[in-house]
């Protein structure tokens, strides 16, 4: 609570309520706190001073790192070469018979590999097919498939005999098949290798 008359009167002018409050600070603190604080702080300062002195030493050592007192003869590194030891191992010579048999084996391996390579180069049915189908037909086919995928899903693409695709709605397919007996449909599926497992439309 303010004792200074100037501050007291200022406070009264601003707020009589606040001016009349008990302005004591209610916080408690450990007994003898202030008696012991100066010594604690001096001990801490001493510890930190010692630590900082150790840090001062390191920069000096760091500074010496790049300084090299040793001398090297002139052009030493330019003329440096490795002298190999004189006791080289003896060269082992292979006799003619052994050399000839190695050569023959290598030729045979090469021939077999060649045969295999040639066989693999034979074109796959897909690549053969692509050689006989014109670019225009291929392009038309792919365009139709793409348009179909972006469009209505309630239809099927049916391949026709003349290599064209016809879009047939699921409803139309059902209509077309309703007059055909089930046993005929089953026989057709068996002959053509289709699975009879029903699909959900």
């Amino acid at each position: 609570m303010a004792e200074d008359p100037t501050i007291k009167s200022e406070l009264k002018e601003l707020s009589a309520t606040v001016a009349n409050l008990n302005g004591d600070t209610p916080f408690s603190l450990p007994s003898s706190y202030f008696e012991g604080f100066p010594q604690r702080i001096m001990e801490r300062i001493e510890n930190e001073t010692l630590t900082s002195k150790e840090v001062v030493l390191s920069p000096a050592l760091e500074g010496l790192k790049s300084k090299n007192p040793f001398e090297v003869p002139e052009n030493y590194f330019d003329e440096f070469s490795v002298k190999l030891p004189s006791n080289q191992p003896a060269v082992i010579s292979i006799n003619f018979r052994k050399w000839a048999s190695f050569a023959a084996a290598a030729c045979l391996a090469g021939f077999i590999l060649g045969i295999l390579f040639i066989n693999n180069k034979k074109e796959s049915p897909a690549s053969l097919a692509s050689n006989t189908i014109s670019h225009e037909a291929m392009e038309t086919y792919l365009t139709e498939v793409e348009a179909f995928e972006l469009g209505d899903r309630d239809s099927e693409l049916v391949a026709m005999e003349n290599n064209t695709l016809m879009e047939v709605s699921t409803l139309n397919i059902s209509e077309m098949l309703k007059d055909i007996p089930d046993k005929d449909i089953s026989r057709f599926l068996d002959l053509n290798g289709f699975d009879e497992t029903p699909t959900i439309n």
């Binding site: 707020s15 409050l21 008990n22 302005g23 916080f27 702080i41």
Partner: protein, 183 residues
């Protein structure tokens, strides 16, 4: 005998490295309570206040060689204390990742868990009211109300104009009055 020396004499002894530790210890003993309570009213908990106070005096030890004796030592120490306190509160905020509103609530919780807290007592109510203030306004109120610091000295401590400080103090008093009347 050192305890009778004035601030300038103590600073002079410190700078000349004559009984440096004794001179500084005298300074600590002279101002520790005022500095402590200024910090404590801001941070509430004793352990936090002790922590901040140690930082304050370590900074003072490190900076006293460069202290210009045209300024008052007490003002200079207070300035360090205010800066260290505000830095501490800012760090607490970042550590907890809490908003400004939550900081007020956190300080209020610290207050209510203080030993002997009694909301009915006027001095506790006043402390609760003070915690509602923004940090810098809280500093201004505490310095004027509890420390009875002149605005001119406060201006040196906070590096703010006298006019701004007067306005800040007046607003603080009004807010505290409002809180007291409505709680």
């Amino acid at each position: 005998m050192l305890h009778q020396a004035d601030d300038n004499e103590l600073v002079s002894l410190f700078k000349q490295h004559k009984d440096r530790e004794k001179a500084f210890t005298t300074i600590v003993k002279r101002y520790q309570e005022k500095i402590y309570w200024q910090i404590r009213r801001m941070v509430i908990r004793h352990e936090d206040a002790d922590d901040v106070m140690q930082h304050v005096f370590i900074k003072a030890w490190n900076g006293l060689d460069n202290f210009r004796e045209d300024a008052k030592l007490y003002t200079w120490l207070y300035r360090i204390a205010v800066n260290e306190t505000l830095t501490y509160l800012e760090q607490q905020k970042k550590r907890s990742s809490i908003s400004l509103e939550d900081v007020g609530e956190q300080l209020e919780n610290k207050l209510t868990s203080e030993k002997g807290f009694d909301e009915k007592q006027a001095m506790w109510k006043l402390q609760k009211a003070i915690q509602q203030l923004p940090e810098k306004q809280r500093v201004v109120f505490n310095l004027r109300y509890f420390e009875e610091m002149p605005y001119e000295q406060m201006s040196e401590v906070l590096d703010t104009s006298v006019g701004a400080l007067k306005a800040s103090y007046h607003h603080a008093v009004k807010k505290i009055e409002d809180y007291i009347l409505n709680h």
